[in-house]
């Protein structure tokens, strides 16, 4: 399906795509912990254009995973609003996909069967389904591993298989929760490039959480920087560079310094937090 489509320029047909917009407004999420409520996300406002790639970075525990789970509808208990193309999110749906931090392939199914999982509830004729599966395996470079079981794959291959599964039913929005977190630096760079290519080919709206600022900048049209306790959006950084990008671009380096500064900023007094970042003396 995607093979014969010409590569899209980043700016041009993203505007032409009209579905896949996510609008988050006034979103708050509380968890009850030991009898008292703890605010994990506080007043999140974010508007994502169709086909945009948004990266989210932030310290551990600031609610990034929680935000993604809310967007895909695995958790529906929240205040505020999440809308996908003007419909309020209330539960999971095939138009929203998620790549988990751990790949979550079913260990009892082959890779191909795992990809098929995404297509089970879509009315596709059998031969078409087979084709979609093999196309997506090819997309992530796993054509030869359709019959392998997940435990026979390397970590990076499993993560790519999970991405293939998530893409197979062509969701309008794909959330990715540290999809490359478990990979070594080299594989990581390769899969990043692959992810960029896939995104450019498929034109899906992607929201990716990562701990790696380089990765966030390399892939994201915008980078959302979050701060913890409660989780808030501290800053949104525009990355005004066309895709595919050059890692050596000076702009990326400048933005990286800015974001790192934001992330390692001394917590304000009124935060009531005792956490400091390693390597920096508490003042």
């Amino acid at each position: 399906m995607t093979d014969h489509r010409p590569l899209r320029g980043p700016a041009t047909d993203k505007a032409a795509r009209r579905t896949g917009a996510v609008r988050i407004s006034g979103l708050s999420k509380r968890y009850a912990m030991g009898g008292k409520a703890m605010t994990v996300l506080d007043d999140i406002n974010l508007s994502i254009r169709p086909g945009e790639f948004v990266s989210i970075v932030g310290p551990s525990g600031c609610g990034k995973s929680t935000l993604l789970r809310l967007i895909v509808g695995l958790d529906t208990d929240y205040d505020g609003e999440i809308r996908l193309d003007d419909t309020r999110v209330a539960g999971t749906g095939l138009e929203r996909g998620l790549v988990f931090q751990d790949h979550r392939l079913f260990p009892w199914m082959t890779v191909a069967k795992n990809v098929e999982v995404a297509l089970l509830n879509q009315k596709l004729p059998r031969d078409r389904r087979e084709r979609v599966i093999s196309e997506h395996l090819a997309l992530v470079g796993l054509s030869d591993f359709g019959d392998a079981y997940p435990h026979q794959l390397s970590g990076g291959m499993a993560q790519r298989a999970a991405i293939a599964r998530a893409l197979a039913n062509e969701p309008k929005v794909l959330a990715l929760d540290e999809p490359l977190g478990a990979l070594d630096a080299l594989t990581r760079v390769k899969v990043q490039a692959e992810l960029q290519r896939i995104w450019m080919e498929a034109g899906t709206t992607m929201i990716m959480v990562t701990h790696d600022v380089d990765e966030a900048l390399f892939l994201g049209d915008r980078v959302v920087v979050m701060s913890p306790r409660p989780g808030r959006i501290a800053r949104i950084v525009d990355v005004d560079l066309p895709h595919p990008r050059d890692r050596a671009s000076p702009l990326l380096h400048r933005l990286k310094d800015e974001i790192l500064a934001e992330l390692t900023r001394e917590p304000r007094e009124d935060d009531g937090t005792l956490v400091t970042f390693p390597g920096r003396p508490r003042g």
């Binding site: 998620l98 979550r104 079913f106 995404a118 509830n121 997940p150 039913n169």
Partner: protein, 255 residues
């Protein structure tokens, strides 16, 4: 050299026991009654092999154990799936199973004999019961321990209840179900020998052993004991092989 030494040591103990046995058997008639000479044991073995007696009894026991495994195991898996999925059924059936299980399997024997006589049906009932317990308990445990992580994947792709059952609950319970079946196999084999010892009616290794005991034929008893051991071990190994084949998707370390 080292291998040889450990091999020699491994043989030393049984050799010692056999030597002592042989020595005892030569201490006059009174002793030979219990300690059948080794040569006699070997001769009985060959004889039983030749006239088909061993095959007949071993076959009868094997058939009984496997039939009961099929019956008890199937009911156990079905009941385990049902109680694993439904809280109501779990609450109703589990206490009953727990209470019943306190009675050692052969303790039911007099009652079963009064109700159903001591024919093949009664034997099969008891052996099936012994196979039922481990399958139902393990299946239930497997079905209840569905990993939330995989259930979320199902929700993401809009799985129906039957899809979740077939593609998540059942396969993730399978390793435990296999554990249950392999326990059931061991229990069924023990129970088979037990009921045959106690209900001496038709063919079977237990029946033959009991008859040999009454006739004071230690040699025949020993041949049967060895046969019981070898068969139990072989069944176990064959099942382990089957399990490895069917659970190919498990990484080797998880087995």
């Amino acid at each position: 050299m080292k291998r040889l030494a450990s091999f020699a040591l491994a043989l030393a103990f049984p050799a010692l026991v056999l030597g002592w046995w042989e020595w005892e058997s030569r201490q006059g008639l009174g002793h030979a009654y219990a300690f059948a000479p080794l040569e006699q044991i070997a001769r009985s073995f060959l004889e039983m092999l030749a006239d088909g007696r061993l095959a007949l009894h071993a076959g009868a026991s094997l058939q009984r154990a496997l039939t009961a495994l099929l019956i008890g195991g199937t009911i156990g898996i079905v009941a385990g799936v049902a109680t694993g999925l439904s809280r109501v059924l779990d609450r109703t059936a589990s206490p009953l199973i727990t209470v019943m299980r306190q009675v050692p399997i052969l303790g039911w024997l007099p009652l079963v004999a009064l109700w159903f006589g001591n024919g093949d049906g009664a034997k099969l009932l008891l052996v099936s019961l012994s196979a039922f317990y481990p399958t139902v308990l393990n299946t239930q445990k497997g079905m209840q321990a569905i990993e939330q992580r995989y259930a979320e994947v199902g929700r993401l792709y809009g799985f129906t209840r039957s899809q979740s059952l077939r593609m998540i609950a059942w396969p993730s319970a399978l390793p435990l179900i296999f554990t249950g079946i392999s326990q059931a196999l061991a229990f069924a084999w023990i129970a088979t020998i037990g009921v045959e010892l106690l209900f001496s009616a038709s063919a079977g290794l237990g029946t033959e052993m009991m008859a040999a005991q009454v006739a004071a034929r230690t040699d025949i008893v020993l041949v049967c004991v060895a046969c019981v051991g070898v068969m139990g071990f072989t069944l176990n190994q064959l099942f382990a092989l089957l399990r490895t084949r069917l659970l190919r998707w498990q990484p080797a370390t998880a087995k």
